[in-house]
């Protein structure tokens, strides 16, 4: 009897040991990934704040802690003006990229919403630019936008318009970068909208037709509202992606002319690897991170109130 109880207890203990071993093995499955995120995502964020309080210059080995000196430079010193300028350029760029993705995407989705081989092939052509390296397509667009020999200025002249300096003028440089961006993103917006439009039940359209709604009314009062979750998705993902713009600026303008395309990430890069002021780069990165998080949270909150979910 007592022997039996001891055996049972032993069995239970063995089972418990087995279970905890299994749990440990399950944890081991996620451990490498977690260790990676701690080392290459979270630790660098902590480092960023720490470096911001030093006077670290990349070409020197030693550095000291200098308190809020870099933060003062950013908010009160010569950094402030550059910060505001770079944020203004970044937000302007982001505004246009979002507008092109959403408005261009939905217009093209309405135009390309037809089932046939030809349309499917044309959709692929519009979708493909997104998968070509930005740096390479930037080089192609620089040739198209060349102010002397570029085909775009030739076309402008054909139509009697004055040729533009494109990348060589501070007035048009950001717009030139956006020409490339538009080419890259508009097909993506279209594809996302098209796949969402497939999910709208045709009954809505039939009911509206019976009520005498024309194609534009149907688009305005059925398609658009039912696509609002897709619009929110596109808005937030495009916002996050376009705030990080770097490649096209680095290749096409190098932040110029006269800093007219000096977006924030490019500025951070120049602070760290051209001026070697890692300390200043760190405080700008910190602030930019906070701005990115706060504005993402704000857009999600504002737009979630205006989104219609199909029940």
């Amino acid at each position: 009897m007592s022997e039996n109880a001891a055996g049972k207890r032993g069995a239970r203990a063995r089972a418990a040991r087995y279970r905890s071993r299994e749990r440990a093995k399950d944890f081991l499955c996620v451990a490498p990934a977690l260790a990676f995120f701690l080392a290459f995502v979270y630790y660098p964020v902590v480092e960023l704040f720490r470096i911001g309080f030093t006077n670290w210059n990349l070409i020197k080995d030693k550095y000291d802690y200098v308190g809020f000196k870099n933060w003062k430079w950013l908010f009160q010193g010569s950094g402030c003006e550059k910060l505001l300028a770079s944020l203004r350029i970044t937000f302007t760029y982001t505004f246009w990229e979002i507008l092109i993705t959403l408005a261009g995407g939905i217009l093209l989705a309405a135009l390309f919403n037809r089932e046939s081989r030809a349309f499917s092939a044309m959709r692929s052509v519009l979708f493909m630019p997104r998968y070509i390296a930005i740096s390479t397509s930037a080089i192609v667009f620089m040739w198209i936008l060349n102010d002397q020999y570029g085909i775009l200025n030739y076309v402008l002249k054909l139509f009697g318009a004055a040729p533009l300096a494109w990348l060589n003028s501070e007035k048009t440089a950001l717009a030139s970068v956006l020409v490339l961006t538009g080419w890259r993103v508009v097909g993506y917006g279209m594809m996302i909208y098209l796949s969402a439009m497939k999910g709208i039940s045709p009954e809505y359209y039939e009911a509206a037709k019976i009520d005498g709604a024309g194609p534009f009314q149907r688009f305005r009062y059925i398609t658009l509202p039912l696509l609002s979750p897709t619009t929110l998705f596109l808005f937030v993902t495009t916002f996050i992606a376009s705030m990080k713009v770097f490649q096209s600026v680095d290749v096409m303008t190098g932040g110029g002319p006269y800093q007219s395309t000096n977006v924030t990430v490019f500025w951070i890069y120049e602070l760290a690897f051209v001026d070697f002021r890692v300390d200043r780069a760190a405080v700008v990165s910190c602030l930019f991170f906070v701005i990115l998080l706060a504005s993402t949270a704000a857009t999600m909150r504002i737009s979630s109130k205006n989104v219609h979910y199909e029940s």
Binding site: R23, D26, M128, V140, N146, F233, Q247
Partner: protein, 289 residues
């Protein structure tokens, strides 16, 4: 009455045909504009320098100057760039898939304490791009003497939070009875992940794998930070480097630069043509979340 009806029908049919025609014409016009940069890249890569700089551009080269291709290859080590890109992308992709499958299993089917709160660390990593943290990561990598090495190119990208997120979603959808049956047959975790879950989630694996492959093949930001010499540069930087190698004479050598661009984008265009259905399904999945 019936005649009038027929007339109305015919008119409606005609209106629909005109509408369809207009739609075709407008869509074709948009497509032509979209494809033009690719066309112009290829055409320019085949022109002679003299033809390239004519005041009236030609839409078709007078003579095909294939020499631009070997000439471009002489200016920049494209073979090296391609090799580097293949090794880097292959390394990143295999590590990401390996770590991703294990982590997705742990977060979807594992039973350790704090599983869901630890998953927040993965979601948080989605919100912190390397464009924010590259300065400290660069300093770490420099301290490890990884500048201009494959380790420097690969390791900081070796785990993808996005991939873990997508695979976890997909693994979760697999019914536990499959796993229990496999366990009864004495299958361990590794077997369950790679013989049961991975084959059942093949579409998701394909999609996230292809997206990650293209992303890293085209990656520019981090490879630029971590390479300072042509030794480990990748193809996304290659065309830019080619252009810079003409220092001041870019315009008259645009044909060779465009030849370099054609060589750089050709693999991706072929890949896109073959695999775009996976990209599309990935997007409709992501957009419906």
């Amino acid at each position: 009455m019936s005649e009038a009806n027929q007339g109305a029908n015919a008119r409606a049919r005609r209106a629909r045909a005109v509408g369809a025609l207009l739609q075709y014409a407008a869509a074709a016009a948009v497509t032509l504009v979209a494809v033009f940069p690719i066309y112009w890249m290829i055409i320019s890569s085949l022109k002679s320098s003299e033809e390239l700089l004519r005041p009236v551009p030609t839409l078709w080269p007078a003579a095909f100057n294939w020499r631009n291709y070997p000439d471009a290859l002489k200016m920049a080590p494209f073979g090296r760039y391609f090799l580097n890109t293949i090794v880097m992308t292959g390394g990143i992709l295999s590590l990401q898939l390996l770590a991703g499958c294990f982590a997705a299993y742990g977060f979807a089917k594992g039973s350790f304490r704090g599983r869901d709160s630890l998953f927040v660390l993965v979601l948080g990593a989605l919100m912190i791009p390397i464009q924010i943290t590259f300065v400290p990561i660069y300093c770490m990598v420099a301290k490890l003497h990884w500048i201009n090495t494959f380790a420097g190119l690969i390791v900081p990208q070796a785990v993808s939070a996005y991939m873990i997120f997508m695979l976890r979603q997909s693994f979760k959808a697999v019914d536990d009875s499959f796993l229990e049956a496999a366990r009864l047959e004495g299958m361990g975790r590794v077997g369950i992940i790679f013989k049961i879950l991975a084959p059942m989630c093949k579409p998701t694996l394909m999609t996230v794998g292809i997206i990650s492959f293209i992303d890293h093949w085209n990656a520019y930001f981090w490879p630029k930070m971590v390479t300072t010499t042509p030794l480990r540069r990748t193809i996304a930087q290659g065309v830019y480097e080619l252009k810079r190698s003409y220092a001041g004479l870019e315009t008259m050598n645009q044909n060779q630069i465009m030849a370099g661009a054609v060589m750089a984008v050709l693999p991706i265009i072929i890949l896109f043509a073959l695999l775009q259905k996976y990209l599309l399904s990935g997007f409709s999945k992501a957009a419906s979340k």
